[in-house]
């Protein structure tokens, strides 16, 4: 059996590798293999998989990448992620990608799709317009059309067009992956000392750069390791971290939050991997099922229109209750429109419900953690005091 440390080391290796060695190795294993990158937050990876391509999450280079070329493309008031993604591309680190998907997360990622068309004319580029209308007949039909188009075009790129059966198989695999992720999140919620967030994050992050089959295998191994080595319970406050769904915080920030005395019991990190909160049916038309799954089962997030007028007000209470959390840490990337515009509403709702909150901003390459440590530490202590009184 592989040890917990062994799996975490493996994940750390994938995470730190800015050359995407695991993806390149997969490509080298078979002739004519192709890979397709996607930006945060949600991309239908089932479609990529069914087209015979490797889906690779592109999340920038974090604090491990020096920005030399990327700043030439962005003003100082735009978030860090796109300059880091451009840096990866301009330095040839993304040259193994035959296709790139840019979901409708925000205007910056949307515009990056057009920049990619200009800069890398040989790469297949698709701006993915997620269905903002939740009505099945309208939004569902629209999204189904988008997925069919994507299937066709990725099939053309890969030379291995998917059929219903292969898509259904891919959906089943991703159902398994999502199920494991749900289970890991449940384990952490129940006993956060057994699944430190740093480890969970690394495992999730590694899952963005390897075949889904590998991820499933590693996730299972990690779960067994957790049972074998459960870890020590500590007296910490339970928090959920909200707003970090796109540009990812540096690993140091995640560690800092936990070491300052908090257990993260729910979060938005890499939200795309569990954007659908339940299994997608594989019974009938798989494209329709995938589209319908999105309409019915996409989680509430800052990137989608909230049809329920009470939705924003109630969301923090619902998430805090579900996770039995003591408070909320709003951690948003600097200049992130979706997270920061949402924060005002979410925080007002949380505070109206008496939920303790703090808020700060980070960038994927933030290097100073002192202020986070102090804020999170004080927050953890104060929640314990409230809890005790």
């Amino acid at each position: 059996m592989i040890s917990r440390a062994g799996i975490v080391d493996w994940a750390l290796g994938i995470f730190e590798d800015l050359e995407f060695g695991a993806a390149r190795a997969w490509l080298a294993e078979g002739p004519g293999r192709k890979a397709c990158g996607y930006l945060p937050v949600y991309a239908p990876r089932e479609v990529v998989h069914a087209s015979g391509m490797l889906a690779v999450g592109i999340h920038g280079g974090g604090d491990r990448l020096e920005i030399i070329k990327g700043d030439a493309f962005y003003q100082s008031y735009i978030c860090h992620l796109p300059r880091s993604v451009i840096e990866l591309a301009q330095t040839g680190r993304l040259d193994f990608l035959s296709a790139m998907l840019f979901p409708s997360t925000c205007d910056v990622i949307r515009n990056l799709s057009g920049m990619w068309q200009v800069l890398y004319p040989d790469v297949y580029v698709r701006y993915l317009e997620l269905p903002q209308v939740q009505d099945q007949a309208t939004g569902g039909a629209f999204w189904e059309g988008e997925l069919r188009l994507l299937l066709r075009e990725l099939g053309r790129v890969s030379g291995r067009p998917a059929d219903d059966a292969s898509l259904a198989e891919s959906i089943a695999l991703y159902n398994t992956a999502r199920g494991l992720i749900r289970e890991l999140y449940r384990m952490r919620r129940e006993a956060p000392w057994t699944v430190p967030t740093e480890e969970l994050y690394l495992l999730m992050r590694a899952g963005e750069g390897v075949p889904v089959e590998t991820f499933i295998e590693k996730a299972r191994a990690y779960m067994s390791a957790v049972e074998a080595e459960p870890g020590q319970r500590k007296d910490r406050s339970r928090v959920i971290v909200v707003g970090a769904f796109c540009e990812q915080p540096p690993l140091g920030l995640i560690k800092t939050i936990e070491r300052a005395g908090c257990y993260v019991v729910d979060d938005d990190f890499l939200l795309g991997n569990r954007f659908l909160d339940t299994d997608v049916s594989t019974d009938n038309d798989p494209v329709r099922a995938l589209a319908g799954g999105f309409l019915r089962h996409a989680v509430s997030s800052s990137i989608m229109f909230e049809p329920d007028p009470e939705g924003k007000r109630n969301l923090m209470r619902q998430r805090v209750q579900a996770a039995r959390a003591d408070g909320v840490i709003f951690a948003a990337p600097s200049f992130c429109d979706p997270a920061l515009l949402d924060r005002a509403m979410l925080r007002a709702g949380a505070e109206a419900d008496g939920i303790p909150c703090i808020a700060f901003k980070y960038a994927e390459n933030s290097a100073q953690f002192q202020q986070f440590r102090e804020q999170a530490g004080t927050f953890a202590d104060s929640m314990k005091l409230w809890g005790d009184s």
Binding site: D63, E66, I67, I68, K69, G70, D71, A72, Q75, S76, Y77, A363, N365, S366, A367, Q368, F369, Q370, Q371
Partner: protein, 425 residues
């Protein structure tokens, strides 16, 4: 003789360059910028004309033997000029001391100030008496300020006079003196200087001719951050970009790309084979990565600005610095130090971070082409130069990098060249 003048009114220094009828540089002058812009320009111009007259003198003598005589004369001139300024500064401080709001302190302060100025005067005489005086700031405010502070400390320790009060007097008056017209020109002090060196006949005759030589300023062009406030009509004002481009071209005719990192802003400029600007970019609204940032770091480390580069050069490995945000500079530095990183390694990383900002401006302006000329205050910093050389090499391949010891005059030289072209000499 007809001549043209270029003036570059910058945020920290003001420069003037004079060209003769053939377009050759006749003289250069520099002073610190100050609230009275006209005054700063006046001083820089006067200094340039002093240099020009000395250049005329020099052109009279070809042999090296006379060169040392001229050097002596120049030092004598500087002595006269400095003593004159010191006298004026001393008078004003004494007058201030005499009406100090604490009546009981007045007498002691007046005595102390007289003594201090007596001593500074003597020190200045000694300084200029040396064959090869040690290098120091060329600005009167710097030399007077540091000598005054040092001597005030001595006197206050010895006599129990308040150091704060003495310093207060200085701070109050230096601005006053800097902003009032002073006689600093060639004509004002060459007589005294000649006396000082004992009127050697050959030199005296040449001085006579130099004094009589007519210098007719036929045209002038102004540039720099404060150019809108220059006493020039609008059509005689050119942007710093154009002047820097042309100035760099004049210094290094092969120049195609110019990078200027000054105190307030950074400029990346592309020029054609005539020195005409074909594209440029300036730092965006965020001032991260300008010279000022290094100033903050020096303050934070409590060392001189000019010591930063050499200290960084002693580093074996650069610490990666992610933020060049001036607001966070101090915090980032303290955190790194607390993590046990070495000062020199952090500094090396900081220099690289600044140059990275410049790299993005260069890329926005069209990249780096051969030859590449680096100007501005930061071009004197060896760690910045090294980082630039490395990064340009890595990203654009081998390029010839030009740095002139006179790079601070690039803008003024460009302005003078525009004046020269305009005058049709």
């Amino acid at each position: 003789m007809r001549c043209v003048v270029g003036v570059d009114l910058g945020s920290t220094t003001t420069k003037a360059v004079i060209l003769d009828e053939t377009g050759r540089i006749l003289g250069r002058g520099i002073t610190n910028s100050r609230s009275n812009y006209d005054q700063a320009v006046g001083v820089a111009r006067t200094e340039a004309f002093v240099a020009a007259r000395f250049e005329l003198l020099r052109r009279e003598f070809e042999e090296a033997a006379v060169e040392s005589e001229l050097g002596k004369l120049l030092r004598a001139f500087r002595t006269e000029q400095t003593l004159h300024q010191l006298r004026r500064l001393g008078e004003i401080i004494v007058a201030e001391a005499a009406v100090h709001r604490l009546e009981e302190a007045r007498e002691g302060l007046v005595g102390a100030v007289r003594e201090i100025f007596q001593k500074i005067g003597e020190e200045e005489e000694e300084h200029f008496a040396m064959e090869d005086p040690p290098k120091r700031s060329a600005f009167f405010r710097d030399l007077a300020g540091s000598a005054y502070t040092r001597l005030a400390e001595e006197v206050s320790r010895r006599d129990g006079i308040s150091f704060e009060q003495l310093l207060g007097l200085y701070d109050k008056t230096i601005i006053k003196v800097e902003n009032e017209p002073l006689e600093l020109s060639f004509m004002d002090h060459i007589g005294g200087a000649l006396e000082r060196v004992g009127r050697p006949p050959g030199i005296a005759r040449a001085v006579e001719r130099a004094v009589q030589a007519e210098m007719v300023e036929v045209s002038g062009v102004g540039t720099g951050y404060g150019r809108a406030r220059l006493p020039f009509p609008k059509e005689q004002i050119r942007s710093e970009i154009l002047c820097h481009g042309l100035g760099a071209h004049a210094m290094f005719p092969g120049t195609r790309t110019v990078l200027d990192i000054g105190g307030q802003d950074t400029k990346a400029i592309q020029v054609d084979d005539h020195g005409i600007v074909t594209g440029f970019q300036m730092n965006d609204r965020c001032a991260a990565g300008c010279g000022r940032y290094l100033g903050y770091i020096a303050d934070e480390m409590n060392i001189g600005l000019h010591e930063l580069g050499p200290l960084a050069e002693t580093s074996k490995r650069a610490v990666k610095i992610n933020s060049t945000c001036t607001v966070f500079a101090g915090a980032e530095l303290r955190e790194r130090l607390s993590l046990g990183e070495k000062r020199e390694d952090i500094l090396r990383g900081l220099h690289r971070a600044i140059i990275l900002r410049a790299m993005s401006l260069l890329a926005r302006s069209g990249g780096v082409s051969d030859e590449f000329t680096f100007t501005g205050g930061v071009a004197n910093n060896p760690a910045a130069v090294r980082a630039l050389r490395d990064l340009v090499g890595e990203n654009y391949g081998e390029k010839k990098l030009n740095i002139s010891p006179d790079s601070i005059y690039t803008g003024a030289l460009g302005a003078a060249l525009f004046a020269y072209r305009g005058a049709g000499l």
